[in-house]
Symmetry: C2
Subunit: 268 residues, 2 copies
């Protein structure tokens, strides 16, 4: 057990988490299909890199799978197969539906949970950020996953289920992605574009927001846009905009009656 | 002619413009239905305040009408009636359709143009900001209006018509307002709200943008939301979002083929 945490994938999410872990003096290890990238990450955070997933899994106390969402479920199964009994295996994917479907085949001797860092790969200062943690259906491991992230310095928020998480992610992350994609089409038909420096300040902020989301890879954008929760959120915003187009006046302001995330937190 | 510029209305737009004018040493004057507010603005910018619109109009070389949009057309007519021959009268309203309809009755001896500062009342540093200038249909005055704003230190951009302006404003200003209103309804149905501090960074930016727009007065929001150009833009964004909801994948990025505002600028 040379690795307190073994990261499968050495991209920006793994590095953001590894930075927090290594700041606490933890031994961190990496495996990536791009061996050079794993080696770079290992030397950056003073850890080891492995040339096989099996090698990393056998030597890790906990395994964090930080690969693109569509691959995450299969990689969790592979990592679990080579892990010792009682090892914690978690994912970091944005949406969970596919991960759960693909990873149901994990051997029962490992612990498992679903997790989701609520920050991008460029974030610093872990103490300012949250990681959402939720049970893998029918498995132990959520308590251990929460402890892992807290010990790394993050705040955690426990959600009841992946369905709850996907819905919240659809209305926060997915909705922003859907909006960014849709803006291009709408602005083209109005003769404007996102780069225009001239219109109002709020328009420029909207443009910067959209540009920032659209600078993510087409693969990630496709993954987020194709999720049913994103589609639900996009349809809901479209309906509300049609109401405005039909002449609904300004709504009352004020905060909505409760914040679901906080409610869930208080219930746990 | 004691006033290089006479402002009708002493709110945030008039003050932002007066700050630029007085920085150039121009005598600026104010009339407001709230006499105290006119007096405050006059003392702040070293000018005069008038207790009647007629008084201000008779003493002003140029008149800038900076009152809520629905009132602007009628006030332009009133100001023009009391002005000397050759006085320039301009509005500052966000949308122009109603202004044009209401102000067609101005006497022919005044010059008139439609203008729109592309910044909020809290903006500073005029040299960084633009004022859109467009002809009042069938009237002289657009050249003089452009010169007025340039001499105050602003960049100007000349648009061909109020219809063009309303369409651009609908797709930049109106669209952001429509989006802010619609977000409340959509997020409520998803169990989130704009104040949630937990979700992703992009969501938080979207929330701040919406909160900022929604902090404008219900009157201004109602005026913007009820404009046909805003409704067109909102309907267009709704259609594009429905496409995303139906499963359209990520679009190609890249800038749209041209920027209409720049094209218009180059043509002038």
């Amino acid at each position: 057990m040379e690795c307190r945490v073994g990261f499968v994938g050495a991209g920006s999410v793994a590095r953001a988490l590894a930075r927090a872990a290594s700041a606490r003096g933890w031994p961190v290890c990496f495996y990536d299909i791009d061996r050079e990238r794993a080696g770079e990450a290992a030397s950056q955070y003073g850890g080891l890199s492995f040339s096989s997933l099996q090698g990393l899994a056998a030597e890790s106390e906990a395994i964090v799978v930080a690969v693109p969402g569509p691959a995450a479920g299969g990689v969790m199964v592979e990592a679990a197969r080579s892990s010792r009994s009682g090892t914690l295996v978690v994912d970091t994917a944005t949406f969970k539906r596919g991960v759960v479907a693909a990873a149901r085949g994990m051997p029962p001797r490992v612990l498992a949970a679903l997790t989701h860092p609520l920050f991008g790969g460029r974030a610093s200062r872990p103490e300012k950020h949250y990681v959402a943690v939720m049970p893998f259906p029918g498995r132990e491991g959520v308590v251990e996953a929460e402890r892992l992230y807290r010990e790394m310095g993050f705040n955690t928020i426990r959600l009841r289920s992946w369905e709850e998480h996907d819905r919240l992610a659809g209305y926060s992350i997915g909705l922003v992605y859907a909006l960014a994609e849709a803006l291009y089409a709408a602005l083209e038909s109005g003769g404007l574009d996102l780069d225009s420096p001239l219109p109002s300040t709020t328009y420029r902020v909207l443009g910067m927001l959209a540009q920032s989301v659209l600078s993510d890879s087409p693969d990630l954008r496709g993954e987020i846009l194709s999720n049913p929760s994103t589609r639900e959120a996009a349809a809901s915003l479209a309906s509300a905009l049609m109401e405005v187009a039909r002449g609904a006046g300004p709504r009352g302001r004020g905060r909505s009656s409760y914040n679901l995330l906080y409610r869930l937190l208080e219930e746990c």
